[in-house]
């Protein structure tokens, strides 16, 4: 399954819904999306990963890059993920300490800390 991307706005938050596989082949498209949003002045991002089937370290690198970009503008990047197989790779790489990970888009959108 290829990567699918869609974005929508809720207040000052931009939700990026990602589906399919994020790997060495598809990750550049996610990077492009995040770069475009930041260039467009969207600094508070919620990346909804509930429909992601596969994520590897290349995809993690893109998310880390996105986090750094929004932080450079005092922004935020929150993740929505409840899938154990995806959460596992965040734990292995220590990224659960870096990304706020929420169990729903609503929770991520209303989060302030």
């Amino acid at each position: 399954m290829d990567l699918s991307l869609s974005t929508r706005t809720e207040g000052d938050r931009t939700i990026v819904e990602v589906g399919g596989e994020i790997d060495v082949y598809t990750a550049p498209r996610l990077r492009e999306q995040l770069v475009d949003l930041v260039a467009d002045g969207k600094y508070h991002l919620v990346v909804d990963m509930e429909r992601v089937d596969f994520l590897d370290s290349t995809g993690l690198g893109v998310l880390v890059g996105g986090l750094k970009r929004v932080r450079a503008h005092d922004g935020s990047l929150r993740l929505v993920c409840t899938q154990e197989r995806i959460l596992k790779i965040f734990r292995i790489t220590g990224l659960t300490k870096v990304f706020p990970i929420h169990s729903s888009v609503e929770e991520a959108v209303s989060a302030t800390e």
Binding site: Y25, F54, S57, G94
Partner: protein, 163 residues
Amino acid sequence: MTSTVTNRLRKKVSVATVELSFSALPAHVRTARLVAAAVARRSGVDEAVLDEVRLAVGEACSRAVHLHRRHCPERPVQVTLIDDAEAFRVIVTDEAPSTDAVDSLDGAGLDDLARSDDLDLDTVPPGVGLAVITSLVDDVSVEVADRPDGNGLVVRMSWPTSA
């Protein structure tokens, strides 16, 4: 007579089930993952572990593709999938010079990189892929390939199969 039978059995269990040789293109990493998962399933690897197989094979192949594209884009990446009596084994072999093999033994996490001020970080260092593999897979070994130029790594992983 007995030894002939033994040899035949030995030969049977050490035969490679599937061998893949693919050009160092990111799109083919997915193909390698799919084939590995399919052979793993057929070998009797537990369904719950297939995600782990997919991720580990994907990381090993992504790392190899990344390094080949930088150093030897014309050379293919080799993946050998073996179903023997005890386990499903995967061997990923590349031909690129590497410096990440030692780094990976520290289990390098991404959290430090995420905190650093290096804004260029979009592609993770290859060592992270190996770190993920070594954290994920119980039976894994990373060795320098036996080549005259001293390049290349051989990443061996295995998962138990149900009888």
